[in-house]
């Protein structure tokens, strides 16, 4: 949502698969958000808050860095210099 595609990537789909094909609804219940929000996050259409990101990582029992990544676009790289 908003300005361009989020630069934040995630491996939630793979983590759900590794967790015995955990459903999106089950993950949503664990995290405390709606299934639609999990779908949006998984598809990269919505970047969650830090709190929800931590909750998702906690639901899989891994660190947040194992769930989310960040790929800087050319514009961002230029801005950072």
């Amino acid at each position: 949502m908003g300005k361009g595609r989020p630069q934040i990537t995630n491996v939630i789909r793979r983590l759900r698969f590794d967790a015995g094909e955990m459903t999106q609804a089950a993950l949503a219940d664990k995290v405390g958000v709606s299934r639609q929000t999990i779908v949006a996050i998984e598809q990269g259409r919505y970047s969650p808050s830090l709190e929800v990101a931590f909750r998702i990582a906690d639901a899989f029992g891994v660190g947040i860095e194992h769930v989310f990544g960040w790929s800087a676009g050319e514009g961002q790289q230029g801005d950072a210099k």
Binding site: M1, G2, G32, V33, S34, R35, Q36, T37, A40, R45, Y46, P48, S49, V52
Partner: protein, 143 residues
């Protein structure tokens, strides 16, 4: 399709239908010579009708979607994404409402008859409502 989307779609359809009915009557000359008081009363009835019909169609829509899905609709839990969508939709509605009000004031300033103000205010309300609903549907689908 979630309950929120069904509710938004029903609300949008009702707003459009009431708008067509309201302005259709005005444009066809059925309310020629209408006073400001008459027009305001008609607007109030239209707003009341909109609220009642929206509630009724939302319930009906939820029932129909549940029947088609052969199960209950997803729960209505509100989370951070819903709050963000609502905030952005309200902002868009505010912009649309402001534009409608500004347009009405400009029309009055240019010498339009007073009854135009009533129609202008109602148009602004409809515009704001439609902008909010369309924004919600769009943001829910796109992000």
């Amino acid at each position: 399709m979630s309950m929120r989307e069904v509710s938004a779609i029903c609300g949008l359809l009702v707003q459009i239908a009431i708008g067509i009915w309201f302005f259709g009557a005005a444009l066809s000359g059925q309310v020629a010579g209408e006073t400001v008081s008459d027009a305001a009363a008609r607007v109030l009835w239209a707003v009341l009708a909109m609220a009642v019909i929206t509630i009724a169609t939302t319930i009906l829509g939820a029932v129909l979607v549940s029947i088609v899905r052969r199960g209950e609709m997803p729960d209505g839990r509100t989370d951070e994404r819903d709050r963000l969508i609502n905030a952005r939709s309200s902002r868009n509605a505010y912009v649309a409402l402001s534009m409608g009000i500004a347009g009405t004031l400009i029309a009055l300033a240019l010498g339009a008859i007073p009854v135009v103000a009533v129609y202008g205010v109602f148009s602004a309300m409809l515009l704001g409502g439609i902008a909010e609903t369309v924004s919600q549907l769009t943001y829910r689908r796109l992000g």
